[in-house]
Symmetry: C2
């Protein structure tokens, strides 16, 4: 199986949208399709493409896995309601946290999320809904990185040769497989998505669990969620490609009220990049970095130390986990 990239200069958004809407209609026929909307650019574009093609025959769910950013479920659902697309929130926090319990290896954590998402949560929703088609926001960079063995994307079973129809009872439709992030943003704009969605910085499939080194627990998610909120507030006007907070497992010595406090460390990354293939750390002014460190150590319980990543990709990757 080979996928041919549509480069940004060769992309005609209007033509692309028409072609994909037609394809989705022809594949799904009179059936039902289902979409798990995460609120990211890729997922949002696919949802709108699916809704244009199928209308109410697209069933859209927001999976509340407990790993999302603050207020994310409510925010995304109300935003899509304004666009006329009905989205249902499914609360499966407990299932995800119990699946992640005790896991520390990044690949095992990803695999656990994949299994919980497809088999336990989505497989069940598909069966209940009667849908035979699952729409996915896999893009060209995901394909490339997965095939290169750099990362195992949670949404790319078919690329790895797994027969999803046989294994889980549904078929995956991936309309943006040939385009990279910059192209997807253009398509999102042409689809009439609000700018806060089509220009949104990328966010990983496994959500905040990809921002935790070591075990993912509800408490540790809460820590990285608070740090993420501060980082997003301070860096959203930076014009950077992506910015993120990572909770480390390593503890470092700190000092609180004159006493030793063996505490937590948060790492901040902020990237200049066109397409996530290569990247450089943004030259964030030191005033902003110091403000970030102060807000995080003042407001996120247990954190005594904050670092800023200064490595290029490669040899770094955008995310740490």
């Amino acid at each position: 199986m080979s996928i041919k990239e549509i480069k940004i200069d060769d992309l005609n958004p209007g033509k692309f949208i028409k072609q994909k809407v037609d394809e989705i209609r022809s594949v799904v026929g009179n059936g039902l399709a289902i979409k798990a909307l995460s609120g990211g650019v890729d997922s949002s574009v696919v949802t709108i493409l699916g809704y244009r093609a199928l209308g109410d025959r697209l069933k859209t769910y927001f999976i509340e896995n407990g790993l999302m950013r603050e207020n994310e479920p409510q925010r995304i659902v109300s935003l899509f309601q304004k666009l006329g697309v009905p989205v249902k929130i499914v609360d499966v926090k407990e299932q995800f946290f119990s699946a992640l319990k005790g896991l520390t290896d990044p690949e095992e954590k990803r695999e656990s999320i994949t299994q919980t998402f497809y088999k336990d949560v989505f497989g069940k929703l598909v069966k209940e809904s009667g849908a035979k088609y699952l729409m996915q926001g896999t893009n060209y960079t995901d394909v490339e990185e997965t095939l290169a063995g750099i990362k195992r994307q949670h949404n790319i079973l078919e690329q790895l040769g797994i027969d999803t129809e046989g294994k889980y009872g549904y078929k995956i439709i991936e309309p943006i497989l040939e385009v990279r992030k910059s192209g997807i943003r253009k398509v999102g704009e042409a689809l009439g998505l609000p700018e806060e969605i089509y220009n949104r910085p990328p966010f990983p499939g496994p959500a905040l669990s990809a921002r935790i080194i070591g075990e993912v627990t509800q408490k540790r998610i809460e820590t990285v969620r608070k740090a993420t909120k501060i980082v997003e507030e301070e860096l959203c006007d930076s014009g950077a490609f992506q910015y993120l907070a990572i909770l480390h497992k390593d503890r470092v010595t700190g000092i609180r009220e004159g006493k030793r406090d063996y505490g937590l460390q948060i790492e901040i990354r902020c990237w200049e990049s066109k397409d996530a293939i290569t990247g450089s750390p943004t030259r964030v002014p030191y005033e902003t970095l110091e403000k970030l460190a102060k807000r995080i150590t003042d407001n996120v319980e247990g954190v005594v130390s904050v670092t800023y990543n200064i490595t290029k990709k490669p040899p770094s990757t955008i995310e740490a986990v």
Copy 2:
């Protein structure tokens, strides 16, 4: 027991030196004293004070514990030889690495180094030499931080109420107990030490083992030693109070030759401070930070990621371990 600080403005280096030399002479009498010279400012100042007071009745050793920076033992010994002070290198690398094997808790690592240093290595040297007095470079900040419970200094047994005479067979003389780093530098200059010594950035007692999160092995020391050399080369002209490289235990995803490399992370810290009580991260130019990251990921095996610490002290401390 209470120790009264001599503030920098109240310090008369010439008078201080005369007083300390007299005190050492009066305490040691006709006996022998022994000094473990590390090459730091504190240790060097105490060595010269002791040598002025006692001449050849001061026995000076450089303990090669395997945890020192590149070429440090040879460099320090030859520098003191030029000053007329004989120093003998004692190779005890194996003893330290076997004592540190398997330890990951910072306090346990410090305790293991303390025990190996005092009991196994120095106690033995003292007995062989016949010396009854051990000279130590403990300073006022060490006293303060140890009493506050922030850190357990390896050289401060008496402050913690341990009877070193009964336990190890010797008595500790600490001539710079009342002064902080800035005062010690003044005394060092007045003693005729070269500037590269009296203006040297501070370096922790447990040496590079204080720059390793997790287990201290010969291989991990080699990794942090290489990173330290690069950091010191790039930042020695920064005018900063102190600069250091820390090897983390956490692994992060990287990419090498197109393939996933689950590798190591080095954290850099560079401090503006007067006396180590409070500190701010130096605003190192991004050109330098990027050069540092490139040199480290290009030249230190296994490292795929480099961060720069942006937290003030407090709530951070100068060192991480």
